[in-house]
Symmetry: C2
């Protein structure tokens, strides 16, 4: 918030690109025409109209879902909270990517879950590593409750799980009777609208719980997401969700449905995608221009983030503290791991910045790294 | 939902009485003027403007709060969920009213909390009973984590905790170092706007966590509530809340603030209060007209519910199943107790029905009771 700082830390979408007047009109129309209903308690399952919109979004990833599979959530974060609450007792093992989403680590921590991480590379998590880890943990008589992955433009690495690895991961988990929790908020903010890779859910609906979100394809402030799960699991998740928040905000659900049902949504999403692509190119250009040898980064095909690997700096280094001395805010790689990783890493976000900020931020990052080597 | 049924079960406010056009205009104005901000991620503490509105609401109950004490929640249900998550391990004891809110029992159950109930009468829960129970449970070396009470127009009884008992309850708990969780969604829907009884929070801010809600004084569909707590507890609750839902819907918070800041809100609340009073009188009149001897009920001074005690029918009876045979839906008293209570009870709601429904519903209730005696 302080103007002398440059932040490449935040993972915010650029909501200034949304058509605010249209959204204002839709909101007013909903409240004027159906105010008594929209301001009243809603259903714990979510509004009746939204599953149709969600089914269309998921169909683009090869999945067929109906209202029986779908639960609307107060954002995808709550989806993950409910799955963890339902599946896990303290000490249970969940397997995730190394590195993974900081907010997921917060959820797992709040239920005292033992997160084990399998390294990722440019094609995402290694299914053979997952298979081995499941077998090892089970041999130690600990229960593995699920495998947690972010397949598209992963947070924090920006990497996408390849199609081959998707099929193999589903096979590995299915053969061992382990559920996959597929956290997929970035699916629709790839730089290219098509082709989209098939979702893990589409490959095995009985063995995958899919978490979706309107946060990146519309608005995070509305807090509307969804889960797709086998009907029996979905029913239990709904009961758990009702105990936590009764239901997601009805106006937010109705507004999400009204907006993504319109052609303006798709047109706007094209603008937003191109904007992220342009920003990503600007950030990667700045990195190439300013950063010293020995620093490498991922090349995202969508989403918000790139992930740096810094040779010659100890992974134990408090890289955030060092950056702050140079008036730069970043997400330190260590925050995305349970244990100290093998190398020093940094997550940079390009989703909500300007080329000037990228240039200046990267210059400050170079000074930060200089001061550490 | 089936037209041949009469329901006196639901605890919904009457949202048809709200000024939908005004609310539509406020929503459109917010999105038009501040769309990028309102559709963006918000703060886990809630929007900056709302504490002022909430402080004014709580001041009417004698409490002084600032933003340091306040956390905006995704409804008061989530407040209770977060408190329970933060304070309780499985097997811990929470003391509550007998009977109590079914939704609170759902939360306690989801964390495997051992709810013990102290009987209530027309003045609410008995503080001496609470003191005795705390001492007994502690003598058995079980930890008592908090005392949970709904002081105003309680759900399900409609009863209000007297001022004398409020003071004594605070004294009893404070002397034993036990936190009170004060769940107070109905405070502002008393039939008379004033005088309001002082909140438990106002009597001991260091020892009481207050749960407030916009659900009854504005809209439940928006899912906006708040907690007042000591700053250190508030900070931990915020972190726990961020792991669950990141933050409450920004548009819903802004709309709640915009609406309750206007004179139309207060004028409308007066209309709503009178409407509940009129409906309550109509229901109690119908009860006196149709119900047989041996049935008694509470006389609410606000809120949504009256609570029946039925002599001559076993407390083991499945009273809901019997009512459904007569095409009537009610909340069976047993649902509000951990163990079978001493008498047969029924909760009836008058907040969202018509005099005809009350008359016909009460007639059917009389037939139901006839069939059981």
């Amino acid at each position: 918030m302080r103007p002398e700082f440059v932040s490449l830390a935040g993972g915010n979408p650029d909501t200034s690109l949304l058509p605010h007047d249209l959204i204002a009109d839709l909101s007013a129309q909903l409240l004027r025409e159906r105010g008594a209903e929209i301001l009243q308690y809603g259903s714990g399952a979510g509004i009746a109209a939204l599953p149709e919109s969600i089914a269309a979004l998921m169909a683009a990833q090869g999945a067929t879902v109906t209202a029986d599979n779908l639960l609307i959530t107060t954002g995808s974060q709550m989806g993950l909270d409910l799955v963890t609450k339902l599946f896990c007792d303290p000490g249970d093992v969940v397997i995730g990517e190394g590195p993974t989403y900081v907010g997921a680590m917060g959820v797992f921590g709040s239920y005292e879950v033992d997160l084990r991480q399998v390294p990722t590379d440019d094609d995402g998590i290694d299914p053979e590593g997952v298979a081995e880890l499941i077998d090892t943990v089970r041999a130690q008589r600990h229960p593995v409750k699920f495998v947690y992955v972010i397949p598209n433009y992963q947070n924090p690495t920006g990497v996408t799980l390849s199609e081959g690895r998707r099929r193999r991961l589903v096979q590995v988990c299915s053969a061992r009777g382990i559920t996959i929790v597929e956290d997929d908020p970035y699916a629709h903010v790839g730089f290219q609208a098509s082709p989209m890779l098939p979702s893990l859910y589409s490959m095995n609906p009985a063995g995958v719980i899919h978490l979706g979100s309107f946060s990146k394809l519309f608005s995070p402030g509305l807090r509307v997401g969804w889960m797709a799960a086998p009907p029996a699991v979905r029913a239990r998740l709904q009961i758990a969700g009702e105990a936590v928040s009764i239901h997601p905000t009805v106006l937010a659900q109705e507004l999400a449905h009204a907006y993504v049902s319109r052609p303006e949504w798709w047109q706007n999403l094209t603008i937003i995608r191109r904007s992220y692509q342009t920003r990503c190119e600007a950030l990667l250009t700045a990195l190439a221009k300013h950063l010293p040898d020995g620093v490498t980064w991922t090349t995202p095909r969508g989403g918000f983030f790139t992930w740096l690997t810094v040779a010659g700096v100890s992974p134990e280094t408090d890289i955030l503290a060092a950056a702050i001395e140079h008036h730069l805010v970043i997400v330190p790689g260590n925050a995305c791991y349970v244990r100290t990783p093998a190398a020093c890493h940094i997550r940079l976000a390009y989703s909500n910045g300007t080329p000037d900020e990228f240039d200046e931020g990267t210059r400050r990052l170079a000074s930060t790294l200089d001061s550490l080597r």
